[in-house]
């Protein structure tokens, strides 16, 4: 179901996601984001890397993604987040190299 796991995310499409990089003000953490099902269709990617200020939550991450990919709103209210392969609420604080998966429900059978 998922792509080969990769430890580093600097290879993956980070150029698209980081318009206001300001390393001097606060330390940044790197988050790997995985898109499943409809989320993949909407973003056109299976995964990408986000740089977030230290102390960011999963919600902050989602907000940033919604700016980058406005059409993600379609599923924003009906999806679950998984942090490092476990379901997690949006309030969870992220750490460097965390893996955040965006999982909309699928219904086929």
């Amino acid at each position: 179901m998922t792509e080969e796991p990769k430890d580093t995310c600097d290879v993956i499409g980070s150029q698209k996601t980081n318009p206001s990089r300001d390393k001097d003000l606060a330390p940044y953490i790197k988050i790997k984001v995985l898109f499943f099902a409809r989320a993949r269709d909407l973003t056109g990617s299976t995964e990408l890397c986000l740089e977030m200020p230290d102390g960011s939550t999963a919600r902050d991450c989602m907000n940033k993604l919604l700016i980058e990919f406005p059409n993600l709103r379609e599923i924003y209210n009906s999806m679950v987040l998984a942090l490092n392969e476990e379901y997690a609420p949006e309030s969870t604080i992220l750490r460097n190299k965390d893996e955040l998966a965006i999982i909309p429900p699928i219904s086929g059978g």
Partner: protein
Amino acid sequence: MDSKEIGSGSSGADLLREIERLRAEKEELESRIHLLEAQIKPRGAAEDKSGSCSLSSLSCSQMNGATISCLSPEMIHRYSRHLLLPDFGVEGQLKLSKSSILVVGAGGLGSPVAMYLVACGVGCLGIVDSDIVELNNLHRQIIHTEAYAGQSKVKSAASSCHAINSSVKLVEHREALQAVNALDIVSKYDIVVDATDNLPSRYMISDCCVLLDKPLVSGAALGLEGQLTVYNYNGGPCYRCLFPTPPPSAACQRCSDSGVLGVVPGVIGCLQALEAIKVASAVKIRGRSPACLICGENAAFTREIFQSFDYENFTQSPMSDKSSEKLNLIPESSRITAIPKSMNIPLSNLEDKLSTIHSALKQAAQDSGKCASLFVVCRRGNDSQRAVDYLSKNGFPLAKDISSEKLNLIPESSRITGKEYNEIVNTGEPHVLVDVRPVHHFKIAAIPKSMNIPLSNLEDKLSTIHSALKQAAQDSGKCASLFVVCRRGNDSQRAVDYLSKNGFPLAKDIVGGLQSWSQDVDHTFPSY
């Protein structure tokens, strides 16, 4: 039952089913009789103890009986590979056989779910669907065949299930599961499997399961991916906990719009069947071991240890085929080999080589001054039997074959056959029968009054055997004999070998174990 019915054109299958049913009934009655008998005479407590503690959880267990479980010999045979699993065993199979599962949807997910649940021996399977089989379903809905195109999916699925396992009760619900009928249908089952292909059904089924407090095994598949979740079970969430707001319909495509690779729902459906079986049998198939060296409570497994850990050495197997030669990991015993001093005469040449055998025997006799015996061996014991058959008719009446699977550790005098043991039982000769199989094997079936001491515990249990023998001698006023039995007659030899060197010189084993017992003496004894 009465001759009129039999003669009046009942099909063979009907009769077989009736026989099966009656057998099960007979088994059940016998089991109850044994149980009551055991209550009347509460003696032999020492023997009972070995099995009773582990049996106490079984509601219909029976002490000292031929069948300790409620599984019929037919079931024991059919599900033997389940029973051999220590973590599943008789308990797991019994629970599964008493559970009823509703599969909603007989499509891509429902196909493997229904087939596996039926094959594995669920007690009752209900299938709900209102659809008709179409040819473009068949690439993934493997329960259906071309012959059923245009017919009800439920009918088709039930027919396949019946062909796989006719002992499972099947309930056909040829209708769509909807809010109006769901409570009624779902309430009849213990577990629900959501194998539907649409969002509203998923919410509906989940809500229904919450209302009726039924565990829900939910699966979904689309394109190249799938999802699997167990809802409403052991304090877990329901579908709405995860997805309180349904996605817009555009976000939730259907297979008929977006396509699906045939195997994908198959994989998810198999996992659903597995989860359903885990819930039904309440058997923890996988759990963390507190003593595990890697993830356990006192584990000290670090990245450094990990990086220097020799997994090939640990597992005694190579990580790739190519490295095996260099590493020499394959044990000597599994290399292609021949018994020293054996002579090779392929079965196909045997006819032409009789004189060679003749001279070899003559030579061996000359060398030793005694008459020489002739043994034949092959890979698995079939060709050697054919050879012995041929040799015995062509001048070598005493040829014997060595069955490669059978051990010949102890002398003939330390062995008796199942029939001989049966004589001993029938004449009431005082004795103790020790069954050296593992406990979970013993639970499958055992000879009446046998005591279970697994071979691995034998060393610690010599005193138990000693007191059992003493008790048997006291009860009868005569000396009691000691017999050992196992599944196939190898471990019993090892046990007798050990016993003979540790204070029980007269111990004997039953040749061929319970397998022979079942074949030669008690045909009702289950073979597994």
